[in-house]
């Protein structure tokens, strides 16, 4: 198994590209993030100008040619005036930036108006996601991947199951903490369809580095189709490999921690796997969902993400293949 490590690493590197998306405050596609980007650009420009001005004065002060008798009362008084003026100017700039900041906060607004509410629950080290039931349509649970309808305000309710995490999808909005014992909320609104990557931003333990989330903004029709699929139970495997995989999944420790709706597997410790094959990534943004990466993950989760709560379950290679086939089939 030792020799398997480099092999697995090469698997990671092979499957790596693909789900990069954009995770940058400077590449905004959501209304809140766009407002903040304007503020960022404005503030940085103002501050850069101030810095350049101060540096020019410093340079002049250091290198200017000095006259013989400099220290007269008159020049001292002129200096005082200049310093006072500079302080006043600082005050004015500061006040301007403060007002700009308040204005941005105002224009972002709160999530009160949102029609759709999604609850995100932080876990060490993945995201548990609940879509609430509304009227006759039942709610459902998923993990590490949020779908939102384009151009609509979405309220993200943030809770934590264990320690403090922070929900941050920079292209859509600023971050907000998930605090145990409290409930926060955040407004998301995507203006452009796309896959937006985000990542936990508050240090939360061993695998803080591998706790990514994907937000997929799509046309309302697509969103509804997706949500309808998610509400359903897991597909019954048609392919014999996958069917054998399901049997192994249920017989092995897997089912004690994971739920696959429509089967006896109803563990709640790990992520809900009912539609894992339809998600873009596994392991909280660690790997792209392919049969190979699923196999790599199941075979040795502690090498890929040391310290996470999924144990290494001893499996034969046939079992491993079958279970990964089954996982892949859970679209």
């Amino acid at each position: 198994m030792r020799t398997a490590r480099p092999l697995l690493l090469s698997v990671i590197i092979a499957v790596a590209p693909g789900c990069s998306g954009n995770q940058s405050a400077l590449n905004p596609h959501g209304a809140p993030a766009i407002h903040v980007e304007h503020l960022i650009i404005g503030t940085v420009a103002a501050c850069t100008a101030v810095w350049i001005l101060v540096m020019v004065i410093l340079g002049l002060a250091l290198l200017r040619r000095r006259r013989a008798a400099a220290d007269s009362a008159k020049s001292e008084a002129r200096l005082t005036m200049t310093v006072v003026a500079a302080v006043v100017a600082t005050g004015v700039i500061i006040a301007g930036l403060t007002i700009a900041s308040f204005y941005t906060t105002r224009s972002i607004g709160g999530p009160e108006s949102a029609a759709l509410t999604i609850t995100v629950r932080g876990q060490q080290w993945w995201w548990q996601i609940f879509y609430a039931s509304s009227g006759a349509t039942p709610g459902f649970q998923t993990a590490n991947e949020i779908h939102i309808p384009l151009g609509e305000d979405v309220n993200i309710r943030l809770e934590s199951a264990d320690v403090i995490h922070s929900f941050w999808v920079p292209s859509l909005a600023g971050k907000q903490d998930l605090v145990p014992g409290r409930s926060n909320s955040l407004l998301l609104r995507a203006e452009k369809p796309g896959v937006y990557r985000g990542q936990c931003a508050e240090f939360c333990g061993l695998q803080h580095s591998h706790m990514a989330i994907v937000v997929i903004a799509e046309a309302p029709v697509d969103y509804e189709r997706w949500a309808a699929a998610q509400r359903g139970d897991a597909m019954v495997p048609a392919d014999p490999d996958a069917a054998a995989g399901q049997a192994a999944f249920l017989a092995k420790p897997c089912a004690a921690c994971h739920t696959v709706r429509g089967t006896p597997a109803n563990g709640t410790t790990g992520p809900d796997l009912t539609h894992i094959g339809a998600r873009q990534t596994i392991g909280a943004g660690l790997l792209e969902t392919t049969r190979g990466s699923l196999a790599a993950w199941i075979a040795d989760p502690q090498t890929l993400k040391p310290g996470n709560n999924m144990p290494m379950v001893p499996l034969t290679s046939v079992e491993l293949q079958n279970i990964s086939a089954y996982m892949e089939s859970l679209k």
Partner: protein, 636 residues
């Protein structure tokens, strides 16, 4: 206490050489190990403090190189998450609690008594005690790290990650208890500085003649006194939660997770100014000396120092902008965080005006001040950025913030400190540091620093969170990270050269005259290094720049005894002589007290009963410390 007694030997009666011999006999630290362990000479302790803090700086720097090694490539496997978390936690804790605060206080321990023209610091034994406590706290942290029991919860140890449920073992307790050690020592030094500045200034040094460095240390000490109790309450509550099941931070039983953050940052934000304000004093001193004129706007500088100190206590919430607090409160803290830019700006403008009006001499200490200006202004401006709530929601806990506080702390404190070490090195050791090497050191550190930390701003805006031990290859961060890691080598070489220069110059540098820079403050009025009694006769001050007024002859006051340790007490405002006051002699008891306290504190990580049993040896040591020995110091 001012009774006249003819049998006492006063300095009025003696010739210079004879006075020198007798004062040495009274004030000198006896040779040998015992003398070293029991000394209370503020200069010896100050030098120890500085050396120890610089050793911790070097160790913390090594940790940062390890982090840079790991982050140079995506998904690198040099260091696993468990070790990496310990490394960054200890890097932060070490730099804040074991390097930055102590080194600033250490400079004050050495310099403040000299700058105010007195023979010793107030409460010299407490000073010895504070050093031993500091050393013990530092060793606790580092030994724990060596044994794989280092704290792994970040330098601000947010609960519940550091709480009983999620921080298994004793790692978080070690962090919390290390805080207790450094708090005790920092508070002790703060009290000494305040009393020294208020009551022991040279006759004539009224409030408006106090050197700016001393002013800055005074304000810093008050900040320490007001801010440190918050972390003391916080770390005690954390230890109690972990050890005896209190529920301060357990939301299910009425506690609150954010209570920790409020308490921590009520201390943590002033902490930044505790580190920065002494640097303001150092910069002012160096600027005044190397532009050959007093700092422009003395009163403005003092007001800026004080208002920074006051404001610093009122903006802790800007570290919690994304924790979900009420809007209104956030607006207030945005405004107050922005407002602190005004006194900071005033200070910058005053220095610029001083340089403008003066005649700059480009020696190494002054180069570091120029570097400070360039870097710190960037740090200050990014500080204004993160004070804005919406801006902060994007950059909080990212590499942007990492860059910001390194610009503030390294630019705002380490650059002035390096300048200050070059500046006061002759005073500390009697030898000059190398001017040629100094320029190299400055160039390498300046270039290395900016190349290392400037790209971090960009990384943060491009979505890289802080405290990650690795990142995935598909993220567009690897190029800049590699650049940063390579630049860190330049920075490290700069520091290495600095250490080499310091060690080499300390052994065989050119001998220093008593006032090599032509400075105007009192520490240069005595020899380099100063004799154990600092000044043969207490100087009398007639202006802000006593040495420029009378370059050849400094007026002195006389009348202190030479056969026992005695110093002059003056009034708070005008510094009018009030009384002669004895100063404690050498004693081993501070060391015993520190050892007893250390044992108690470490033991109490394991059982609460340690506090009960441990208090007995602590009480014995304290009684031994204060019990009169029948010497004249005790009985005058």
């Amino acid at each position: 206490m001012t009774r006249e007694d003819d049998s006492e030997l006063r300095d009025t009666a003696l010739e210079a050489t004879e006075l020198d011999r007798r004062l040495t006999a009274t004030w000198a630290t006896p040779p040998g190990l015992w003398g070293a362990l029991s000394t209370v000479d503020h200069k010896i302790i100050g030098r120890r403090y500085i050396t120890t803090a610089v050793v911790f700086l070097a160790l913390g720097g090594l940790l940062s190189l390890l982090m840079r090694l790991q982050l140079a490539q995506p998904e690198a496997r040099f260091i696993g998450p468990d070790r990496y978390n310990q490394i960054f936690s200890i890097h932060g804790t070490n730099m804040m609690f074991l390097f930055a605060v102590p080194v600033m206080q250490a400079m004050a321990v050495y310099l403040v008594p000299l700058m105010v023209g007195t023979r010793s610091i107030a409460f010299p034994r407490l000073n010895a005690f504070s050093y031993w406590m500091y050393l013990a706290g530092g060793l606790l942290l580092w030994i724990a790290f060596m044994l794989d029991a280092g704290p792994d919860v970040g330098w601000f140890a947010y609960v519940p990650l550091s709480g009983p449920e999620y921080a298994a073992g004793k790692r978080a307790d070690i962090w919390a208890q290390m805080i207790t050690f450094t708090e005790v020592s920092a508070l002790a030094v703060a009290v000494e500085i305040v009393v020294t500045v208020f009551k022991q200034r040279a006759p004539g040094m009224s409030l408006d003649r106090i050197p700016l460095f001393v002013w800055s240390m005074l304000v810093t000490s008050f900040l320490v006194i007001l801010a440190m109790p918050a972390i003391m309450i916080a770390s005690t509550a954390l230890i109690l939660d972990r050890l005896v099941e209190t529920h301060f931070f357990n939301p299910a039983e009425g506690g609150d997770v954010l209570l920790w953050q409020h308490l921590f940052w009520f201390f943590g934000h002033p902490e930044v100014y505790i580190i920065f304000l002494p640097a303001v004093g150092m910069v002012s001193t160096i600027v005044a000396t190397f532009t050959r004129r007093p700092v422009f706007g003395y009163l403005g500088m003092v007001m800026a120092l004080i208002s920074t100190g006051v404001l610093a206590l009122g903006l802790w919430v800007h570290h919690m902008f994304v924790a979900g607090l009420p809007r209104l409160g956030e607006s207030f803290f945005t405004a107050s965080s922005m407002a602190i830019a005004i006194p900071a700006g005033l200070q910058i403008f005053c220095w610029l005006a001083t340089i403008w009006a003066g005649r700059p001499i480009f020696k190494t200490p002054f180069l570091f001040v120029i570097g400070f200006m360039v870097i710190f202004v960037i740090g200050g401006l990014t500080g204004v950025m993160v004070a804005s709530v919406p801006f902060d929601t994007q950059v909080h806990d990212t590499y942007f913030v990492v860059a910001h506080f390194h610009y503030v702390l390294v630019g705002g404190a380490v650059f002035p400190l390096l300048g200050a070490i070059y500046y006061w090195f002759p005073k500390f050791t009697g030898r000059m540091m190398s001017e040629t090497l100094g320029r190299w050191v400055f160039g390498l550190i300046f270039a290395g620093f900016n190349l290392t930390f400037f790209p971090m701003h960009i990384l943060g805006l491009r979505g890289m969170p802080r405290r990650i031990y690795t990142y995935q290859p598909e993220m567009p961060w690897s190029g800049l990270n590699m650049l940063i890691s390579l630049s860190a080598i330049i920075l490290a070489v700069g520091f290495l050269l600095f250490f080499i220069d310091a060690i080499r110059s300390g052994r065989s540098g050119a001998p220093a005259p008593s006032n090599p820079w032509g400075a105007s403050t009192l520490e240069w009025a005595t020899s380099s290094p100063p004799p154990p009694y600092n000044f043969a006769r207490t100087p009398v001050v007639g202006s802000l720049e006593p040495l420029s007024d009378n370059p050849d002859m400094l007026p002195v006051a006389a009348g202190l005894r030479v056969d026992c340790r005695e110093l002059l007490v003056t009034s708070v405002v005008e510094a009018i002589p009030e009384a002669r006051e004895p100063s404690s002699g050498d004693s081993i008891w501070p060391l015993w007290a520190a050892l007893a306290t250390t044992a108690t504190l470490i033991w109490s990580i394991f059982t609460p009963w340690a506090v009960v049993w441990g208090s007995i040896p602590v009480a014995i040591a304290l009684i031994g410390w204060f019990w009169p020995k029948g010497t004249s110091e005790d009985d005058s």
